[in-house]
Amino acid sequence: MSELKKEDLLKAYRTMREIRDFEERLHKEFATGKIPGFVHLYAGEEAVATGVCMHLNDEDRVASTHRGHGHCIAKGVDILGMMAEIYGKKTGSCGGKGGSMHIADLDKGMLGANGIVGAGGPLACGAALAAKFKGKGGVAVVFFGDGASNQGTILESMNLANIWNLPVIFLAENNGYAESTGVKYNVPTPNIADRAAGFNMPGVTVNGNDFFAVYEAAGEAIKRAREGGGPTLLECKTNRFYGHFEGDAMTYKAPGEVKQQREECDSLKIFAAKATASGLVTAAELEAIDKEVAALIDEAVEKAVAAPNPTEADLLTDVYVSY
């Protein structure tokens, strides 16, 4: 925690709170039937996106997943635009043409949530290759889940990243479930990070519910990448508090599993306890953030609901730059 200043801690907490409240609110709003399509919530995993993206600037690129809201928020994508996008509105980040699974903001270095599991690996390698040509120390991070860890694209990308010595971080978010299938069934090694050995790159596993553990490990990997030291596989073991998608009854989870995780592994609670114990921030300061974030999320939903739908003219635009 030594290098983190008070403003860093408040920023990290705000980001984690924004993600949590965004997702908790979506869970409620989805149940009302007003939100179209498929929605995959990141609640429970906040420390991962936040701990990694705290090290990144707008020139650094992130390739995300179908469970991408947290990555977007942590990378600085506008929350009002995100909410409007999820509601399918014209004012959304993508004009209502992408939705929850495709939120992107290239100016912020967010290469997009992605509906194809594992597809971000090659894209992040390309972003890292571009950064390497640019020569200004930029990096790329690909977030992927325990499910995606078995996709050929991820494995091929780890190979490519190492042989080309690319500044890319393979960030495995191991929440224990590939949709409904447990990681113990899907992955033969104790840790996903064990696979790094097969690609001759550093592999590290940390508690993904602990912001400080993620921050430290990600910082080391990102620093190495910026300095030309090549890729790292960083595995963050975490939990998701909701189903694979909204509407998933989570029949595959043990009774009380999520309740226990919320009590014992809640990344926000762990953060608040450690941050206040450090003496750098107070509980009152965190509560003030809670209130500001709650108001922001209220505003996001109100504006999203009130925003206009895209129109027929929007259907045919932006397929090509020119055609």
Partner: protein
């Protein structure tokens, strides 16, 4: 314009001139240099499996990048690099290998601009080899250009001559959308007039290869030449064929095709691909819909049969549309 070079050299020259002009142009692919990491010649050992990129790694050693046999990762890396400011030309050795990396073309490159609300620019050129005639059998001879054509967000270019190959490849590299650039393996050795200077050919402008009043033949890629043989033979019998080479099939120049059919009243479409859901069907449907009243006879399609490409030369020669089959189709419209 008297200099004649091969289709292969025209592609090489286009790459070289664009790499010279623009430092963000990189070339990625299997063996595009060849020899990387080897004990012998480490640079330009192959210059592409058929030598199309020969010599480029000597001129641009950092920008001609050998890849592992890992199409998903390197094709996707080209797409990602394109979205981050580079202008990659990525080589998928054979279009048949699309099966192992299609997601990065179909769901990533093609979709970014639309699904991100018009904010993404992905100027990637995906060069690939297609077509029959090499006795290369079912997994190295397919045509498949109709597959990317079906997908909004991709442009598809099918040059039939060295001149078109150079001008269209330069246009592809400069274009700000993802382009699939289809090279027929049996055309690489073909020579034709090609200016030394750099030039572009706009997409969506068909070439009227031969003018005629009796029948319109739309032919794609290598089939333009096969149709030319048929037309020459038919001309001796007094039948004047108008041959149209669309040159790009996404976008496609409907106006030139429709105008020709309105003049001739007859259409034969020649497509080396399998017949179902093909360019032959696509062009026939468009003409049937928009120029029905001009038609004096049913449209005829000359395509490969609905089989995989066979190995034996005795079979492959039957599989690929021939000049004789085109002649017969033309006669059937008379």
């Amino acid at each position: 314009m008297s200099r004649k070079i091969s289709y292969k050299d025209a592609i090489n020259e286009a790459l070289s001139q664009e790499m010279e002009r623009d430092g963000s142009v990189i070339v990625l692919g299997l063996d595009v240099s060849g020899g990387s990491g080897s004990e012998g010649q480490k640079s330009d050992a192959w210059g592409g499996v058929l030598g199309v990129t020969k010599g480029l790694s000597l001129k641009y050693p950092d920008r001609i990048i050998d890849t592992p046999i890992s199409e998903s990762s390197y094709l996707g890396a080209a797409v990602g690099a394109a979205a981050c400011g580079m202008r990659p030309v990525v080589e998928l050795m054979f279009i048949d290998f699309l099966g192992v990396c299609f997601d990065q073309m179909m769901n990533q490159a093609a979709k970014f601009r639309y699904m991100f609300g018009g904010k993404a620019v992905t100027p990637v050129t995906m060069r690939t080899m297609y077509g029959g005639g090499f006795r290369a059998a079912a997994q190295h001879s397919q045509v498949l250009y109709n597959v990317p054509t079906h997908i909004p967000g991709l442009k598809v270019v099918v040059p039939s001559t060295p001149y078109d190959a150079k001008g269209l490849l330069i246009q592809s590299i400069r274009d700000n959308d993802p382009v699939v650039f289809m090279e027929h393996k049996a055309l690489y050795a073909m020579k034709g007039e090609v200016p030394e200077e750099s030039y572009t050919i706009p997409f969506g402008q068909a070439n009227v290869v031969r003018e005629g009043k009796d029948v319109t033949i739309v032919a794609i890629g290598r089939m333009v030449h096969t149709a030319g043989q048929a037309a020459a033979s038919l001309a001796k019998a007094g039948k004047e064929c108008e041959i149209i080479d669309p040159r790009t099939i996404s976008p496609i120049d409907w106006d030139t095709i429709l105008k020709s059919v309105e003049k001739t009243g007859r259409l034969v479409v020649v497509d080396e691909a399998n017949p179902r859901c093909s360019m032959a069907c696509d062009i026939s449907a468009k003409v049937a819909q928009d120029a029905f009243k001009a038609l004096k006879a049913p449209i005829r399609m000359v395509t490969a049969p609905h089989t995989p490409p066979p190995f034996s030369g005795a079979l492959e020669d039957l599989f690929i549309p021939s000049a004789a089959k085109i002649e017969a189709a033309v006669k059937a419209t008379m």
